[in-house]
């Protein structure tokens, strides 16, 4: 059986305050640090295309207002505002394709 030899160097793994010398798996090396959810950060819940942006930076928004129309799975999804506040930053433009988990809009 052929092996990928790109993963054979030894690293360190800390468990219960003890440092072990061992190879680290690809998935372990690729893991992302955990980020707590920020209430005002609006993230795409599905990959798709931005059809329309309904707010501008500085717009006052209420929880439940539509922010963006995201086309995915042949449907226009209205991305709602999770909190009441002011739009701090719009990270997208119409026509953009976004993957799942992309930061779309920040509300303060």
């Amino acid at each position: 059986m052929k092996e990928n030899n790109d993963n054979n160097e030894l690293g360190k793994l800390m468990i219960d305050q003890t440092s072990y010398t061992t190879r680290l798996s690809k998935s372990f090396k690729k893991r992302k640090p955990y980020m707590p959810e920020v209430p005002g950060a609006v993230i795409s819940f599905i990959p798709g295309t931005i059809i329309e942006i309904l707010v501008k930076e500085g717009s006052k928004v209420k929880a439940g207002d539509d922010l963006v129309i995201l086309e995915a799975m042949k449907m226009f999804n209205r991305v709602k505002c999770p909190v009441t506040g002011v739009v701090k930053k719009v990270h997208i433009a119409p026509g953009m394709r976004v993957t799942r988990g992309t930061l779309l809009v920040e509300v303060e």
Partner: protein, 514 residues
């Protein structure tokens, strides 16, 4: 005279059918590095042992112009034969005939050979090479898949079931391999997925190649769906033959024994494991230092490498090995390694294969991703599988066995029959560093030199608990042994437990955490 003519007629009919989808289609198949369905069967089985059934089966679909289409043997070859003299049932989908698509009669041929395999209590080998459901036959082809899945399930744990993916196997079709015991794949030939790259692109906008989505390497390294990786079909066929030689033909018998061979003297068991419990080594060398001829047939070699599983022989008989691998991720248990070990333990238990477990692990892998991926329920599978297994369970604690990991790895408490420990074994709730910091927190924080005090307390803890004798004093370890005695004692334990009788309380079935 009349009979001679009839025989000639039969020969002509056979010759035509043996060509499957015809020479042009065969050429295309060859250009992809693939053998034809019948070539594959002949390569796996003993010479001259194949007996083909249902060569003359035809479909009777009428819609969408199917009434005018002839599909030789309806795109699948079935029959029986032997591998090293052991009977097996086999089917191979013929991609040269309508892309190996599965229609009603195609599925009836497969279920016929599956029923035969179960009735005759012999292994079933299924070679998958099919574009999927024969859409022209509508719900009949879905019915066909359902009948196959049902038989895979009821045969599970009765006869060994092997799936060989030698072409596309997509959509619902993948669930037959997923229900079987072992899946063999070949680089650049095997493709397995529920929804293909095209659908993923249209629906989700994600672009990925077929190989990256569901190729052989992905299923061996990432998903864990496949068990054996080969670079070409010939290598795959020898792996299948090897596996068949190691497992019993059904759950009522034991695998064929071989003459006993001593291990290769190049594996010096005392030199493999470093004394420092934080240093790595390859636990496969420990396995090879005890098996007959130092042979070890590893399963899922490329996935969840922090645990090693596979078959070897001891005293001529097949044994299943489960071992933490300190060389990979320090040998921790995590979601994937738990899943991998638990399924293998259940396989061995179903087929009367004794289990030998080599323990050397620091515990479970910490991390948000692990917790959120459900390491609780996945980790529980190992406890469940070991507890429920009634085959002989022999455990050797090589070095560290900390915390929940100690309990999970075939401990006395899960009814291991023999628990041996090497003299450097450390059986404790956690490693000395972590433990000392908790037990002596007050002493350490209030000391004038906390670092010095910590060192002293770690040493104190090591002295007191980081050894096998505390566990041995309670009878949790039967014997503290010299590494060089390992093979001898394992052979003894296997002999002693050859007629082990243990039964579970009557129940319909348990509820393992899956």
């Amino acid at each position: 005279m009349a009979l001679e003519k009839k025989i000639r007629e039969l020969k002509e009919k056979r010759e035509k059918l043996l060509l499957g989808g015809g020479e042009e289609a065969i050429e295309k198949q060859k250009a992809m590095g693939k053998n034809t369905a019948r070539e594959r069967i002949l390569a796996i089985l003993d010479e001259d042992s194949f007996c083909e059934y249902d060569m003359f089966v035809e479909h009777d679909a009428r819609d969408f112009g199917m009434d005018k289409k002839q599909l030789p043997s309806d795109g699948v070859v079935i029959g029986t034969g032997t591998i090293s003299g052991n009977p097996v049932a086999i089917f191979a989908q013929d991609f040269t005939v309508a892309g190996g698509s599965l229609g009603l009669m195609h599925s009836r041929k497969i279920t016929k050979i599956m029923d035969h395999a179960l009735k005759m209590r012999m292994p079933l080998i299924g070679i998958n090479d099919s574009g999927g459901a024969r859409i022209q036959e509508g719900v009949n082809s879905l019915a066909g898949y359902g009948e196959i899945f049902f038989r895979n399930t009821i045969s599970s744990g009765v006869i060994p079931q092997i799936s060989v993916i030698l072409g596309p196997c997509a959509g619902g079709a993948v669930y037959s391999p997923a229900l079987t015991d072992f899946v063999f794949v070949v680089e650049n030939i095997s493709k397995m997925f529920i929804t293909g790259p095209e659908v993923i692109k249209t629906v989700l906008g994600e672009e990925i190649s077929m190989e990256d989505l569901g190729g052989a390497r992905v299923h061996c390294e990432v998903t864990g769906n496949a068990h054996f990786f080969a670079s070409n079909e010939d290598e795959c066929f020898s792996q299948i033959k090897k596996l068949i030689s190691l497992v019993p033909r059904n759950n009522q018998v034991k695998a064929d024994a071989c003459p006993t061979l001593p291990p290769d003297s190049k594996y010096d068991i005392e030199k493999i494991v470093p004394g420092d419990p934080t240093l790595p080594y390859d636990v496969k060398d420990v396995i090879r230092s005890v098996t007959d001829g130092s042979e070890f047939f590893e399963i899922q070699e490329l996935w969840a490498k922090n645990i090693v599983i596979g078959f070897g022989r001891m005293g001529g008989n097949t044994v299943g090995f489960v071992a933490n691998q300190p060389l990979e991720m320090a040998g921790v248990l995590d979601v994937d390694s738990s899943d991998k070990a638990a399924r293998f333990i259940r396989y061995c238990d179903a087929f009367n294969i004794p289990l030998i477990t080599f323990v050397d692990l620091p515990g479970y892998l910490p991390g948000v991703d692990q917790e959120h991926a459900g390491v609780i329920r996945h980790g529980a599978k190992v406890l469940y599988a070991y507890s429920e297994a009634t085959v002989p369970k022999l455990t050797v604690i090589l070095r560290k066995a900390y915390g929940g990991g100690y309990i999970a790895m075939s401990s006395r408490h899960l009814r291991a029959d023999f628990v041996f420990a090497w003299p450097a074994a450390e059986i404790a709730v956690m490693g000395p560093e972590g433990a000392a910091n908790i037990i002596f927190r007050k002493e350490i924080t209030t000391a004038s030199n906390p670092d010095e005090m910590r060192k002293q307390k770690v040493e104190e803890y090591k002295e007191k608990f980081a050894n096998p004798y505390v566990a041995a004093s309670r009878g949790y370890v039967d014997s503290v042994i010299e590494p060089a005695e390992t093979r001898k004692l394992l052979l003894h334990a296997l002999e002693i437990s050859a007629n082990k009788q243990e039964s579970m309380p009557a129940k319909k079935h348990g509820l393992p955490p899956f």
